[in-house]
Subunit: 221 residues, 2 copies
């Protein structure tokens, strides 16, 4: 019998490749999608389309961070544009949402316990990334401890694994992996602005562009 | 200048004593209250009353766990009654909400980063408690690592402390501490059922009763 797994799905490139990867490895993915007031709300609909395309059940969790603090949720703050990769690595941008991945993983942990899934997949990447602290391997190592110690599962001696299959990959390698797994890139969405077309200038667009260019493939978006 | 602190406030006995304790130690508490579909919704209003009484700002975060899995959020499941303390320690009850404290702490971490608070207070108790895994000291130790590694604060070398001042206290000691700190016990609410009067039979009522009896004080509820 296939083992249930929770996959955090934003509808972007990385999480979609992660979902296809988990399925290809024989897991039975349950997608977890967040509606947290992000200005690129569009990604939520794309995430749902991706989950439907690959025929996986999904849940949408809604919450709002009343304290703001991020350009991703606060339209009064502007999204940085045109940053070079070395700048992205050197400085945490205004799009950082305080403790976002910790909140996401906590809900994933709750979902995993509730349905008896024994693993969580997250498409975090610590190579071609925006400098977010909650994308680094040591952070995930710490969260594994929390998952083990803070759950009924853990107390009963069962193991909950947290997989970060893309963490050391370049964006080009992620795109290539996606091609191999037949990921429907046209359904995904990366741009932080969530307009009709990708802006091409935010960190997320620039990283995506780098990936497709590096892989020598045309982005269907 | 007083240092900002996030206090997780449920409106129950332990979190209210924790709030008064934090304030007495010179912190500037910001209360964090959760509306997560608990059947004892009444505790939310009590938490707000407590925050107003002690004159602390507060935020309410709303979310729902679409996967259920707990008698505290699912009216189709019944709340265990009449358990002895040794039974509570031996078995995780149906009122356990999967990964709840991890979700709560994650939001607290986000709030702390957003307003520049350098500590989080939670009234967890590992002595007179319901056997929940996320009430144990080793769990909090693991979460401290996550807080440090998963935030901008942590990356910048600042320390975020997680305080669990009640973790080793008995319920009687907590009540006595509350008396000393002039905690308005009449405003608090513990019963899981959230009826007009406390049921007197759920784990939470029984633990509260044990505390007041042990301290030799009459519960104003």
């Amino acid at each position: 019998m296939k083992k249930k797994a929770i996959v955090l799905l934003s509808g972007g490139l990385d999480s979609t490749v992660t979902l296809y990867w988990a399925k290809s490895k024989g897991h039975l993915p349950f997608c977890l999608i967040f509606d947290y007031g992000q200005r690129h709300r569009k990604e939520i609909f794309r995430a749902v389309k991706v989950a439907e395309e690959i025929d996986c059940p999904y849940q949408v969790v809604r919450f709002k961070l009343p304290w703001g603090g991020s350009a991703l949720t606060d339209r009064g703050l502007s999204i940085p544009e045109g940053r070079r990769l070395d700048e992205m690595r050197g400085e945490i941008p205004a799009t950082y949402v305080p403790a976002r991945n910790t909140i996401f993983l906590s809900f994933a942990l709750s979902f995993a316990e509730a349905i008896g899934a024994d693993s969580i997949f997250i498409g975090a990447n610590a190579r071609d990334y925006s400098g977010y602290p909650d994308c680094r391997p040591e952070y995930y190592q710490a969260f594994r401890e929390v998952a083990q110690l803070g759950t009924k599962f853990g107390l009963e001696g069962k193991k909950i694994e947290i997989y970060t299959p893309l963490i050391h990959k370049s964006k080009a390698e992620i795109v290539k992996l996606g091609v191999k797994l037949k990921v429907p890139f046209a359904l995904t969405w990366s741009c932080y602005k969530g307009g009709r077309k990708p802006c091409g200038r935010c960190d997320s667009c620039l990283l995506r562009k780098k990936g497709f260019q590096g892989a020598g493939i045309k982005d269907p978006l």
